[in-house]
């Protein structure tokens, strides 16, 4: 397939946020790509890969810290005039009817009244909303609301349609239905846009829709792989080609690229890790233990795609769990399969006290942040420190929100492993009694 003319181009886009103490935290690092006429491109990545940030740079909603975004060759200095956007949360104005919502986008472009009404009705019709013109968004189901979101975006016939996880707020069946309809419209050339850029954390969605998948790495986001999808549409999830591609993406996403490898495989290497090199994945101890129990019950091994499908998990749900299990040495991945380790089996099959003790031992060994907290607490006379101490430390490597998240996870894990306790009212962390006595 020869690529058409370029619509939007990002060149060396870097986005950094500044931490309170003046350090720059990169979210995106030198991302370059272009969106051509006639293609659907999927941006895929774990949370923290900056995929939504990249989309907002392309929409002209935020400006990159370095690099440029151009629309048809001219650099953006404000909202991109050639795109329309579909939001995860629909972003409909609740006080306007379906038709008024659709017309609003054209009103902004000063389309005269008769044309406006005509086009709105056509877009409503195309997207299967006829009969709902005078309904208010709150009367509609999620799927129907997102149809309004599509109708609004399509009514202005933009050059490119940007979609920010458009199906992730919908239930599985509704999402599949809407995806299918969009594919049909695209294939039938009824879709009044020239290109589509979709941000997603659903691998199957990406494989099903896209001509090209860009896989982003996390912290900071870089393009790790670019996969062309040459499967004929409509794409059947059961075909070997489809499954193979899904597995490939899983493999890339769980693949070792960082220093994380060292930490996960040899505990001695972990001592060199700092909490900001190896952040704690955003999962609760309970969730992790659930995953390992399922894994143990499955005979200790399961394909990631299969697991995600079964639990109807998207990668943002599943991969942090997998990352945590790997980090703690409770499971390993290879070839897009997850395999439980000896420690993991012990953890999953032991009674609650054994599991907790094991969990405590594992995290104090392998999770850098937990390790750092324990070390600091042990260095004090009464085993107590204010949380601000840790937050200040974490803010050197994380944004304020992210630092809070990290500490919250550490507290959850530490409490579960009975290593330390946390007094929310006073904002203090305290070593468990046993530890203090010892």
């Amino acid at each position: 397939m020869t690529p058409g003319p370029v619509i939007v181009e990002a060149r060396g886009v870097t986005k950094t946020f500044t931490t309170p103490d003046g350090r720059a935290l990169p979210v995106l690092d030198g991302v370059s790509f272009s969106l051509h006429e006639g293609e659907i491109v999927a941006l895929l990545g774990k949370s923290g890969s900056g995929k939504s940030t990249l989309l907002r740079c392309i929409a002209g909603l935020i400006s990159p810290s370095a690099g440029t975004v151009t629309y048809r060759g001219s650099p953006l200095n404000g909202a991109n005039p050639g795109v329309a956007m579909v939001f995860q949360s629909f972003a409909l104005l609740p006080w306007l009817t379906v038709q008024q919502n659709v017309e609003l986008a054209m009103q902004a472009r000063d389309v005269p009244l008769p044309t406006r009404q005509d086009k709105a009705l056509r877009a409503i019709d195309l997207i299967g909303l006829d009969g709902f013109e005078s309904a208010y968004p709150k009367e509609l189901s999620g799927g129907m609301r997102q149809r309004v979101g599509f109708a609004r975006a399509l009514s202005v016939e933009p050059d490119a349609l940007l979609m920010d996880e458009p199906f992730s707020a919908l239930d599985v069946l509704t999402a599949a239905n809407l995806r299918g309809e969009l594919t049909r419209l695209w294939e039938g050339h009824e879709f009044p846009v020239k290109a589509v850029l979709i941000v997603t954390h659903n691998i199957e969605e990406a494989v099903q829709l896209a001509d090209r998948i860009l896989v982003l790495s996390s912290n900071p986001g870089r393009i790790r792989a670019e996969l062309p999808v040459r499967l004929p549409r409509p794409r059947d999830r059961q075909t070997p080609g489809f499954e193979q591609l899904v597995d490939t993406v899983y493999d890339i996403l769980t693949g070792r690229e960082d220093a994380a490898v060292a930490a996960a495989t040899e505990p001695s290497g972990a001592s060199a890790q700092t909490p900001s090199d190896l952040p704690l994945p955003q999962v609760s101890a309970g969730g992790l233990s659930g995953l390992l129990e399922i894994l143990a019950a499955r005979g200790g091994q399961v394909g990631l795609a299969e697991l995600a499908d079964e639990l109807s998990f998207e990668i943002d749900d599943l991969l942090p769990l997998v990352d945590a299990a790997e980090m703690l040495g409770l499971a390993q991945t290879h070839d897009a399969r997850l395999e439980i380790t000896e420690a993991g089996r012990e953890f999953a099959e032991g009674d609650i006290d054994t599991s907790k003790a094991l969990f405590g031992a594992v995290i104090s060994e392998r999770a850098p942040l937990i390790k750092a907290i324990l070390r600091a607490l042990r260095a004090t006379a009464d085993g107590t420190l204010r949380e601000d101490f840790f937050l200040d430390l974490l803010r050197r490597g994380f944004s304020a929100d992210e630092a809070r998240h990290q500490l919250d996870i550490a507290i959850d894990w530490g409490r579960y492993g009975e290593l330390f306790d946390y007094d929310a009212e006073r904002g203090e962390l305290t070593l468990e009694q046993v530890e203090v006595a010892a």
Binding site: V83, W95, L104
Partner: protein, 576 residues
Amino acid sequence: MFGMFPSRGVWRRPGLHPVDLMVFAALLALLFGLLRLAPALNAPFLPKTAPSTVSTDPANLPYYAVRSLLRMFIALILSVLFTFVYATAAARLRRAEKVLIPLLDIVQSMPVLGFLTVTVTAFINLFPGSELGLECASIFAIFTSMAWNMTFAFYHSLIAQPRDLDEAARVMRLTKWQRFWRLDVPSGMIPLVWNGMMSFGGAWFFLAASESISVLNHTYALPGIGSYVAAAIGQGNLGEVGIAIGVMIVMVIAVNVVFWRPMVAWSERFRAEESAAAERPRSVVLDLLRRSSVPGLVARPFRPAGRLLDAATRPFGLAEHPLQRSVTRARTGDVFFAGAVSAVVVYGAWRALHYVDVHAGLGAFGPAFAYGAATFGRVAVLLIVASVIWVPAGVWIGMNPRVSRLAQPVVQVLASFPANFLFPFAAAFFVATGISLNIGGILLMALGAQWYILFNVIAGASAIPSDLREATRLMGLGGKLRWQRFILPAIFPAYVTGGITAAGGAWNASIVAEIVNYGHHHLVATGLGAYIAQAATVGDFPRVLIGVAVMSVYVVGLNRLVWRRLYRLAETRYAL
């Protein structure tokens, strides 16, 4: 119904900043400017056209009531316009926000009645020889009691706009005008209407106080229900006061039924999330309007005008800010802006202090602070007594849905009712029993302020989730433990909101409650309110300035030291 007093966000601002001090100084400077303006514009004689009293013939009452109502609504319209401009500027202009928001914070802590005399003088001199000056002064006084709360509420709705809606508006490339009317106003409509209603209720008090006023030993009166009452009180005619009270009650209820209830019910369409709340505000009047075709007919001719405006405002540009900005230019601008503001403020504050020093001596601040302590004592006693009485009562009402359905509108009328109408009855009682106004003043201040505690507690109690109530009943939680562990923590946030409002109202009321004239009786209490009122009556502007400044210091200081902490505690610990 008062569950979500939407301007609560006001209290979320962090502690005292240097900028607040600057603003405070700026206000002193501004007030000083007004004070200077007033006598300068003042002709050697005051307009003789203005009558000092109105007729107390009850036949005039309907006309007076309409005049008063008109003032209220003009003030409301002005408040809405002010809100739109001020809040939008504060939310959209980065530099303006730094000045406008702290300014608003201080202004709303100032005793409105304190500078009434100043504004009256200024307005009279703006329109010499006509009643228009007085009219404007009265409307301005009402406006100052309405506008701040509404502005804060709208500002908070602007900055708390959902991010996705903001992004959608920008990607659609709405013009500034379109964005304001399609997104900004609708998303702020609910807090705006609720705060408008609350402020309107509170403003009756200021209407009553501002229609008849003594400045420079001369009393002016505008035709209105407030001056009618003032005249009746002057003659010691309690019967006529009683009639006026009746008319007032009818007016408060009527405005609620035909204006605020429909507004509240209508504004529900702007609620973003579909709340599971079964009880949506309803209004019979609104249902009637919706069923009729009149609104449609009235609206039709306006539609082309709307389209025309939409097109005409297009040149103002998109609701968008450039992505790339020169950092050095922005910095330079900031520096110049900060420099200019500081220079003006410092100069103004210095002139104000100099003025006070020359005319009254800076030592005059000392006694004013002492008087302030006396008034503070009254406010504190009022809050404690009112809490002891109204918290249990409010909890009982709030936890009985049937009772609260009946009680809510009654409490709302009581809260809206201008307490100064009742002062003569209380004064007559004090004269008869020989109670000093030093003690009695507490009661006068409480007449208006206590209701805020009551209806907030009712709202808090009725908002307690029923599953919690059931759980505590199943546990057999009773007596002291039930109050300690369940009821008091659950209503705490609502109580704090009520307490803040009640305290603010009480401080303001002290200006009219610490000096009461009834017939030929002249009762005075020792306190800052009396200090300001006396200074205003004789036209001692330096002392008015001192009194208002000291009272603002007390109010702002207590807000920061006590209320804001309680508020934060309520938010973090006791939010349900």
